[in-house]
Subunit: 277 residues, 4 copies
């Protein structure tokens, strides 16, 4: 029986990389379904290859590693769903979108658990038979609170942690546990209006367009690689509150779009940017 695999490859460019990969797959009777590659102006090579065939994928991977120059990173993914954990605070809209997609099997991921630093969203989450953990930050140091979070996360070993409006800053130490694995939705069209209350800032600046940004989380708040962005037009008629409402719609659709790309293994990270193949 044939099964489908995704090969992700990145590293310094060399002559003949596509040639070598396609040769090895050809020799192993694997059929390439889709192949996308990109070479950055600085000479860094990225390739995503979907292929299909009835062979042990590890054998293919070993053959590729042998045939390719050193210094390239190779990752072989099956096309099964990712295991994820969501983190939330009190706002429901991104969570509700993800749960509805999950309920109808459209998310491309299994939501193993939801962690909230408030208990507000428990009833909604439990409608969907997903465990909800309330880990209050009150009375705890950041360090102690993150230890509690970590304990739960490690139990589930998620492939991705999605901050679906988790409104607390995570320490670099915490983030370091999940490199390139935490995804956040930022309530602004980055790099604009960094910090709190961006819709009030947008209103006061009189912008004619507002937006949202989904990005990986690294050590610098809001400065990780951008995965997806979108915008909507506004006018002077929108109050700061109207902009916040509209902004929420953008946030939830941008987060959805970003997760679709990530869960399909289409996103590479390079020098704090994403390459999406």
């Amino acid at each position: 029986m044939n099964s489908r695999h995704i090969l992700l490859m990145d590293g310094p460019d060399h002559k003949g990389l596509i040639f070598t990969v396609t040769r090895v797959l050809f020799e192993h009777q694997q059929n390439i379904i889709r192949n996308d590659e990109y070479v950055s102006p600085s000479g860094f090579f990225f390739m995503r290859t979907e292929f299909e065939g009835n062979i042990d994928p590890d054998i293919v991977l070993q053959a590729l590693q042998k045939a390719l120059p050193e210094g390239l990173r190779l990752r072989l993914k099956s096309d099964r769903k990712k295991d994820i954990v969501l983190m939330v605070t009190k706002e429901h809209y991104c969570l509700a979108e993800l749960l509805a997609r999950y309920a109808f099997d459209e998310l491309g991921a299994n939501i193993k658990a939801v962690i909230g630093n408030y208990n507000t969203l428990r009833p909604f989450v439990e409608k969907f038979n997903i465990p909800f953990y309330h880990v209050s930050h009150e009375g705890l140091s950041r360090e102690r609170h993150e230890e509690e979070l970590l304990k739960i996360l490690l139990r589930y070993q998620p492939e991705f942690v999605v901050l679906a409006k988790y409104m607390r800053i995570l320490s670099p130490e915490f983030v370091a546990n999940f490199p390139e694995k935490i995804i956040n939705i930022h309530h602004s069209f980055l790099p604009a209006f960094i910090g709190a209350n961006p819709y009030k800032q947008a209103y006061e600046r009189g912008v004619k367009i507002i937006g949202a940004t989904a990005h990986f989380v690294n050590n610098n708040l809001d400065e990780g690689p951008i995965i997806a962005q979108d915008v909507k037009r506004v006018s002077h008629r929108q109050t700061a509150a109207d902009m916040a409402t509209l902004g929420r719609d953008i946030e939830k659709s941008v987060l959805s779009e970003a997760l679709k790309l990530v869960f399909a293994d289409r996103v590479f990270i390079y020098r704090n940017r994403t390459v999406i193949l």
Copy 2:
């Protein structure tokens, strides 16, 4: 013979403002074609009224001033074309767009002259039989250079000065000569990437959307009231140079759109924001 007028009114809100204006116009047999108003959350009132009738507009204006509470600003505009002067450096694309619209009588303004701090664009401007002034900044202090610019501008008494990619910073003293009359196109989706080389910054940050902003110029560079903005999607495939090319298309269309609004007397300025009626 009937002629068309535009009444612009702004000031602190009072009960009955629309009532008073419509009553006075009604009593003077003026026919309201279109009326738009807006009250800001802070209680500031804006109204733009297009009306038509065969009466001396000054009589209407006086009657309105008499009937309305103090502290309101009233401006009465005819619907004739505005006189404008363009300022440029070396980049042609916004200039070419405005000249083409002007050549076919679609700009809503008369371009009285173009001033460049380089001579590069003279041949193109002269194709359209518009005077071009080369006022080089080389060897001149900013003060002296701006004096030269001012001399030309004062000769033309433009109602608006359009910076169609004029790449030098204007001093607050210069700007003070043309309050709410200088319009700039900014090569970025403000408030992002302030400063030089925004497309390189956008590339390095890996944004998925780039944009441009047309705004009035006040004393703080790039911080005047925003008139229009637009954006386009980009991906990792676009180099910084590609983004610059695409950005130019956005800049020229955003500047065009902003000028259309300004020349139709649809733009009010309030607390560093625009209200567009």
Copy 3:
């Protein structure tokens, strides 16, 4: 205690309409919060006035009717939530969006019931404690089936019936029971690709943009007044199935946007078009 009201007025234009309305409201100590009006090129007048004050609204309405010329339609609305009923078939995405908004009190309407011609969506609806009625069309004539639907609808007396992917055509006789009250989401950027399987048609035509349309339902399928539309870019890489997935996201956000406008009493209908104030 002050309460807020919305006056909707439409009819042939006359001199002094705004004047008369604002005078009457002024005389009754009602405070205008927001006033928007529009006169069509053919001379039809529309006005939406939000006002606030502590008086019996019927007294204001009578005073207005007395003061205004005949032939104008006046409607006075409170700002309470509308009662609505949803109709569905098997597709969940629009339904899930509306239920999530309702669950968090953001819909501007009370969902009194959901009617499905299949039973598929019952479990999801019941998570939200809303009655679900399964009215199968199987073995019934269209007439008989619509009688069953009507029985339920008349019990709830909904102010609007929302077809959230209800995939059966309604007869003109049925529609006539709910004039200007049935809202549909159409899986296409109207007027394109009328009929079944629009995403397959879009794929085969090779369009670069797909869209969706929310509209009122009148006797001609898909030809009622358009309330909202939106689009997204596609490329040759999207299959017909990909376009359908993307199209669903557009459909749900367009339907949401349209309902927001309708439930806020901002939509007038005139000559098969909408005027949105």
Copy 4:
């Protein structure tokens, strides 16, 4: 000295196509700059390969033809500018955009001549020192008129003929002279509002979005492969005339975008769709 080439390849998919091409280029010391390929769901293969090296491109082409299975179409393009001829009627806006881009060497093409069935645009074209031919259709049969057009076109042997608002229908016989070489801008978001006066149709239908479509011309008017489309939002406030003005801005930017893709050899045609790599 290295020079850059573009290989376009399309045909039925076979195992190993990418492998074979990259091997041949590798063996001939050609360096792949960018490679994009696509396989349609129906199993048709498309590849565009930009490469660089100091060898006779014909030798590479022959080697590729020898190594590849039969039935594939191979085209080798240099990256020089295309020779084109524009055809116009009376409307200037698309023409003005293309001439401005050409004047500043940004079009990616040489405009060898402009042909008008009216003489209206001659003065504007001649500002740019481009020959203008007035070929009036008055008093001529379609056949005779097209013979006159053909005479001029054959003299210039253009690689592409751009209909920049040429408002007459071309016969299938005429079109057959330039297969996949005539590009038109359609004043509508196809497939909507086919026929005359689309903005009046759009106004009357009350659409909330209008658009334009650039496409290749085949025998069926407005039904050739779509290259690019774009849209803008409108409201009830726009008259049919306003929509026409806005529509022109969309038309000119969509035509520009389409030509950029075509002149860069990025557009394949397959089953009346385009594949853009």
